[in-house]
Symmetry: C2
């Protein structure tokens, strides 16, 4: 079959705040081929990723993603790999292309799985999918009392693991950070798994990050996530010498396989966190999972948005029995929830499972999507390059 | 003073072909503050970089570049550094932001230099600027005869160095590549400096790249540029064990300091090539130059477009006497030439010098810009986010 259509849907909450909450908008991709459709989701900045799809060509190595994808063959996983390689070469100088293609690639797998009647994780080479232990991923509160309440809420909903991140952490004194960390542990209880996300706040300052190690050890933190800028491998590597019992996690910024590989090789992280909406989709994420296994590193999804993104993010490591933890958007905005009819709820063991259904296993909600659809129009060189498509298929 | 306005001008040839010629369009940035203006240029995909400037905010770490820059203080180099750091944090999840900010940062330096009446290289910390030896940068011909003619043309215009790249190289047989390399050497003459650019054609295939080493040695090539994908440091590192007398160059894809640092540390390149329109502007490029000096690596500009970009690209290493070679767009399209009144022509020694004038030292041409200006209109969420500005200041 041929890729007949690729449509982008920019969804947004009516009001977007400057909180570090990535669930406030979304960019959905619908691909059509051979009478079937597949869905994917790009992270982040919907308008910019749409522009990378429709922009006029600058030269032979800076083409719009559209020109590389539309009309191409889609008969199996090899065709998806060929498209990814073509995007790398033909969109070489178009930085945003990796994010744009991520959602497309995800949708191609979804479509292929639906067509063949098998879950995507099987197409990726796994015989079966193992359950994952979701951690409730949330922001630190503005005050320790809010942080405590947030962790308590997650616990009361049955989560055995919680991640607190961003917000005030690393911006004030060590005492402030300690108060938040202690509050988080108190809210979660002594036996829960507590994970801490610094949101790159220390940039390249290894000393500033290292000062927090003792505070994280006090609360038995399961990891110290993204202390530094995504590409600051030397800082990561230096911290690995001073991390005590605390393990370091990172990788969400990776927009290709190599960035994740280097964070493992040079940054010496213990957990590699991959956002399938950024790294180029599911195949490069699976390649990272293979690399992680070979290097004794644990693979974790990075997902703070929808259950489409969540179901996609689990596929690349669904078959890794020992890589059990998974990020789970705990309090997403309504746009992230309403866009799909399918949602992954933790079971009585507090575990989630990737849907045992064709493709990504997610039924999208036409009314949910329509409710948050944003009007966009892009014109250049006398042409209408993009206009928000109708939800009719 | 405050940054009062940031305007983007998308210029393009009427027809853009899929040749690997990056001079076919351009994105200019004009910044206004304190009664002065400064100019910069972004690489590449103008529409996408404009979108990254005006897009609606997705969340606190995915803001449009506009929100981070407009209205901010600009009183000295520290303010430019603060803005760059703010973009890193507040546009963290907006991949294209690095390219968008590159042109802005360049324009901020230009403006500051004009305001103070000093060349930018002095603001960057150099007491004086040394002449550079330009190499005529061009594509391989479709046939060896065309490659020969191109190199002969550069030689006859007085160039002592030539770079041939892209086109058929690495796509056919070893014999085909050898024929092109021999033709290039013949056209340039025995004493000229011949540089070869593979344009990432070998992706991660170290063997395929290594097979060309002997052919490059035969023609005494000065470097072997970008054999691999920009982030494939392991492939670069592996080739460094097998490169014989041929030195390896790379780095143009770097969209932050760390990528260049890692190509030096892990990729073991001998030449680090920086595009100021991608890496975030002049300050991170200067940081790379400092790093290169400290590690025995030679800094080279990457510039295939205008003389605004060329004059900007020389500033970060203007004061490095021993880093003499520079990329010089040999046969740019008219849009790249006409946009400025200032052009750097090689002198009787075949050398070029950064203008000894305030800022970047480039007078822009209003009529030249107007001639190639592209109409663009971007609307989203009921707002007109961008419309091509008038050329009136």
């Amino acid at each position: 079959m041929k890729i007949e259509a690729v449509d982008f849907f920019y969804l947004s909450m009516p009001v977007v705040t400057d909180a570090g909450d990535g669930s406030q908008d979304a960019l959905l991709v619908r691909v059509a081929a051979g009478g079937e459709v597949g869905w994917g989701e790009c992270e982040a900045s919907p308008l910019t990723s749409i522009a990378a799809f429709v922009c006029p060509m600058s030269h032979g190595a800076c083409k719009p993603v559209r020109d590389v994808v539309l009309g191409k063959a889609l008969n199996g996983p090899d065709d998806i790999a060929a498209l990814a390689a073509a995007v790398e070469m033909e969109c070489m100088d178009l930085l945003q292309a990796a994010h744009t293609f991520s959602g497309i690639e995800m949708a191609l797998w979804d479509l292929l799985g639906r067509k063949r009647g098998v879950p995507v994780y099987q197409l990726l080479g796994y015989a079966k999918a193992y359950p994952k232990l979701p951690y409730a991923s949330q922001l630190f509160g503005d005050t320790p009392a809010e942080t405590l309440a947030g962790c308590r809420a997650a616990r009361s909903r049955g989560f055995r693991a919680v991640k607190c991140g961003w917000g005030p952490f690393g911006r004030g004194s060590l005492k402030d950070d300690r108060d938040h960390l202690q509050a988080a542990r108190e809210g979660l209880g002594p036996d829960g798994k507590l994970l801490i996300d610094a949101g790159q706040i220390f940039r390249e300052d290894v000393d500033a990050a290292a000062e927090r190690i003792a505070l994280l050890e006090e609360v038995d933190a399961g990891w110290f996530e993204e202390p530094f800028l995504g590409g600051a491998y030397a800082a990561y590597g230096a911290l690995s010498q001073r991390r005590g019992k605390v393990k370091v996690a990172g990788g969400e910024a990776s927009h290709n396989f190599h960035m994740a590989q280097h964070l493992i090789d040079y940054g010496k992280v213990s957990f590699i966190q991959i956002d399938c909406g950024r790294i180029g989709g599911l195949a490069p994420a699976k390649r990272v999972a293979d690399y992680a296994v070979a290097h004794g590193v644990t693979y974790v999804n990075h997902t703070f948005t929808s259950h489409l993104a969540l179901c996609a993010s689990l596929q690349p490591y669904a078959g890794l029995k020992d890589h059990v933890i998974c990020e789970y958007p705990f309090a997403p905005k309504p746009v992230a929830w309403d866009m799909s009819e399918t949602h992954l709820e933790p079971d009585e063991n507090g575990e989630v499972r990737v849907p045992d259904a064709p493709g990504l296993g997610v039924a999208m909600s036409r009314s949910g999507i329509g409710k948050y659809l944003v009007d966009v129009e892009i014109r250049a060189k006398g042409m209408l390059l993009y206009k928000t498509p109708s939800m009719a298929e």
